[in-house]
Amino acid sequence: MADLSINFAGIKSPNPFWIASGPPSNTAYQSHRAFEAGWGGIVWKTIGDPIVNVSSRYSALNLGGQRMVGFNNIELISDRSPETNFREIKEVKDRWPNHAVIASLMVDTRERWHEFVKRSADCGADGIELNFGCPHGMCERGMGSAVGQNPDVAETIVGWVMEATEIPVIVKLTPNITNVVYAARAAKRAGADAISLINTINSITNVNLDTLTPEPAVRGLSSHGGYCGPAVKPIALNMVQSCAADPEVNLPISGIGGIGNWRDAAEFLALGSLSLQVCTAVMHYGFRIVEDMNEGLSDYLDSKGYKSVADFSGAAVKSLSDWQYLDLNYKRVARIDYDKCIGCNLCYIACEDGAHQCIDLVDSAPYGLGPGRVPGKPVPKVREEDCVGCNLCSIVCPVDDCITMVEIETGRERFSWNDYQTRLAKGEMEPLPAHP
């Protein structure tokens, strides 16, 4: 059995799965339930000077009958008093000494930061997460993403926190920024112990076409919200990997953004995360989803021979590079398995209208009765000499393993754009002809 426990910048957790700062981490009651269900840690809903929330706070993107593919909120930080929050953190820590409890903080002045950092340590929190990402409400008051979007300001505030803290400090980064790596570097320069990302993305999920008001509507008016859930995973993975690969950042990463199961978790770990934070999936299904996360991740690590989460973390970081280093001489083409083909012809029309016009509909005679249920119906056939190997047909094909992308041996050596430009500059070759 692989060791799922982690030591994240000094914060110990029995597994890498933490409840992210948000509605599920609002109270001691929820924390007890989360830990009973099997979560390893909890990042408390952001504590600050109490705010007042609106009624009507969430909205969602549904897709093809699937609910909550994306999720949006205009809820602010905790509306409970700091006293209540710190008291409940202590209560949770007393009951769950071996689990990670992290206080998420958001205040304004240096003095207030000092005060809240100290109170966090006093109540027994294992660490602090600085909320520099909340994209609505708080930023208008000079906090949240207003801080995270300005690396200099972020650096200053992290500096204030580091002056006062005795426990590890995680800086939570906003994705609403041109390049998240600059914010991560600022956190590093200021002495932060770790970073977590991504916070939510500015969003409007949809417009009610009867009222012409976006949801969540608050008496006829809505507000830009923060977007999260399964749909943001690719964006989060991209940013996590960017930070993990940057030699100047070099900090432990807590991955956040659309994690809902062990596969998502494994991908975030592979791209450089060490702990994982989950909110939307819990808001959809409850704390019980962690059972399969733990089991699935453990089985996966075992099946691949990894001894621990730390052992696995970052395993895929180096599999990404800049485009200029990719091999221009690599070639793959689509192959259709006619025993599996059901004759929907989605590959044909996708290639024909949406890609590179290298699938034909041809007489089915050489394929026996042909695929699908209509004998004699024309079958899709890839013109391999014209196939650019774009993958589109294999992506749209509804049948598993029906269209596979097969590597073709070109016999030519690795040759990147970078190599090309170098050799061109040296006059070693002529420019390649443009695609017809």
Partner: protein, 481 residues
């Protein structure tokens, strides 16, 4: 004893309710999202009216039920009734690729019902006739599915169309002859009203040849479409056949559609002779209306029955019983009413059914329904239209592309042309005839709209069921060969 109604109104209504409830919007959305939106989809090839099925389902998935109904009704004006009565298992759903993928096809019929119900419920007309007519007049004889298919298409092409029917209301077998639990008659009547709103005139209670002479028709109309269907039930040729309680199964079904359900007389013990789909409709409805026993009597075996397998299963689930390899030899009476059937076992020798000598027995029945096929109206047609050519089976000969007959300006469609097929075939033939008439009168060819699910083919549309429909038995035969 004369037969009488057996159930109270509430029980009868419950037993005869539509067998599948309507999809809720969410159910429709989930089912619509199962559709892969195939390019050149097999379901279209299997639909005799060539409905662009992937497009109408996509529109349901996109929460555009009006557009969905427009796609359906443009191709098949009786899309609402076909959604309920089509044998989708051997047509669109039988060809669906999701059947291969998941073992369960997209429920095309129920989705079609969802979309068409939506526009009927909301009183949205998706079809329109041009305000300016082209000055041509067409008479349509018969207000059944073929006549309606032809009338709607002609009206949309700018013709002045008049439909004549001997019944009190339009719709033909759709109104009078469909199992009630598949479709209540109101659906068909709503379709007739929709076609009326296209400007088509209907004259009911008209017996062609008596109330309306051929001379009048020829004088007043530029073309005539013949869609009078089939005649009454075939004769059994056995003693006692003319007793009061020996009834044409279609007539029994018509009672169900013209009387309140709790006033339909039913026998306690009902025999249905024959084992086609009409026999199934009759036996199931007899059982649902309270018969203690409802039995199919069929001279051949279960493997030979013309009824679809899923219809057979339905009848068994309704509690119907089956006497295979059995033939009636006499209807026995008591006090002038049906008392029993004299039955005999049969065997098939060299393809011919023969009575096994000495196998006869008597079984009590008080209602006998004949579902042994309908007569052709050959003689009536020959009298009405001198020179009209009929084929060996009594069907009106016609050009399959234009539906033109051997008589100038006379076109034909539906059961009298095809010998008795599905509603959807009749609608398609009516539509083809309308285009044939249009080609004759205007020298212009009309083709269907290009299906959006096919846009982009270099070689044009590959196959629409409107031209060459395929059926599951044909698919299976080809696959097994």
């Amino acid at each position: 004893m004369p037969i009488q109604p057996l159930l109270d109104a509430e029980t009868a209504a419950r037993n005869m309710a539509e067998k599948q409830p309507r999809y809720s919007p969410q159910e429709a959305l989930i089912e619509a999202n199962r559709c892969l939106f195939c390019f050149d989809a097999p379901c279209i090839m299997a639909c005799p009216t060539g409905i662009d099925i992937p497009s109408f389902i996509k529109k349901i998935a996109n929460e555009n039920p009006t557009g969905s109904a427009r796609t359906i009704l443009t191709a098949n004006v009786l899309g609402a009734s076909c959604a309920r009565v089509c044998p989708t298992e051997v047509l669109c759903e039988g060809a669906c690729v999701v059947l291969d993928l998941e073992g369960d096809p997209v429920k095309i019929g129920r989705l079609q019902r969802y979309a068409t119900d939506y526009v009927f419920d909301h009183h949205i007309d998706v079809l329109h006739a041009p305000a300016k007519k082209n000055g041509k007049r067409v008479a349509i004889l018969g207000a059944g599915p073929a006549g309606l298919g032809c009338a709607a298409e002609l009206a949309q092409l700018g013709y002045e169309v008049t439909v004549f029917d001997k019944k009190k209301e339009g719709g033909g077998l759709n109104t009078y002859g469909i199992a009630y639990y598949k479709m209540p008659p109101q659906i068909s009547l709503d379709e007739v009203k929709m076609i009326e709103r296209l400007g088509v005139k209907f004259h009911y209670g008209v017996e062609i040849g008596q109330d309306l002479t051929m001379a009048e028709l020829e004088k007043n109309y530029d073309a005539i479409f013949l869609a009078l269907g089939l005649g009454g039930a075939n004769r059994l040729g056995i003693p006692g056949e003319d007793l009061l309680e020996v009834v044409d199964a279609l007539e029994f079904i018509e009672w169900i559609h013209t009387k309140p359900l709790h006033e339909v007389p039913v026998g306690r013990r009902v025999a249905v002779l024959g084992c086609g789909n009409t026999a199934i409709d009759a036996v199931s409805q007899a059982k649902r209306l309270g018969a203690d026993l409802a039995t199919i009597i069929y001279r051949r075996g279960a493997d030979d029955m013309p009824a679809y397998g899923f219809e057979y299963e339905l009848a068994k689930n309704d509690g119907a019983t089956f006497h295979f390899h059995t033939i009636p030899t006499e209807v026995l009476a008591e006090n002038g009413h049906v008392k029993a059937l004299r039955l005999a076992k049969t065997e098939t020798r060299e393809g011919k059914v023969q009575i096994i000598p000495g196998s006869e027995w008597t079984e009590e029945f008080d209602l006998v329904l004949k579902a042994v096929g309908q007569e052709k109206q050959s003689r009536a047609f020959e009298k009405l239209f001198p020179g009209l050519k009929l084929d060996r089976k009594g069907r009106v000969e016609h050009n399959p592309e234009t539906m033109a007959t051997s008589v100038p300006k006379l076109f034909v469609g539906g059961d009298c042309a095809n010998g008795g097929r599905e509603v959807v075939n009749a609608v398609a033939e009516g539509k083809k005839a309308a285009r044939g008439i249009n080609a004759l009168l205007t020298k212009q060819k009309v083709t269907g709209p290009v299906q959006p699910s096919r846009h982009g083919t270099k070689d044009g549309a590959l196959g629409s069921g409107f031209n060459h429909p395929i059926r599951v038995p044909e698919l299976l035969a080809a696959m097994n060969s």
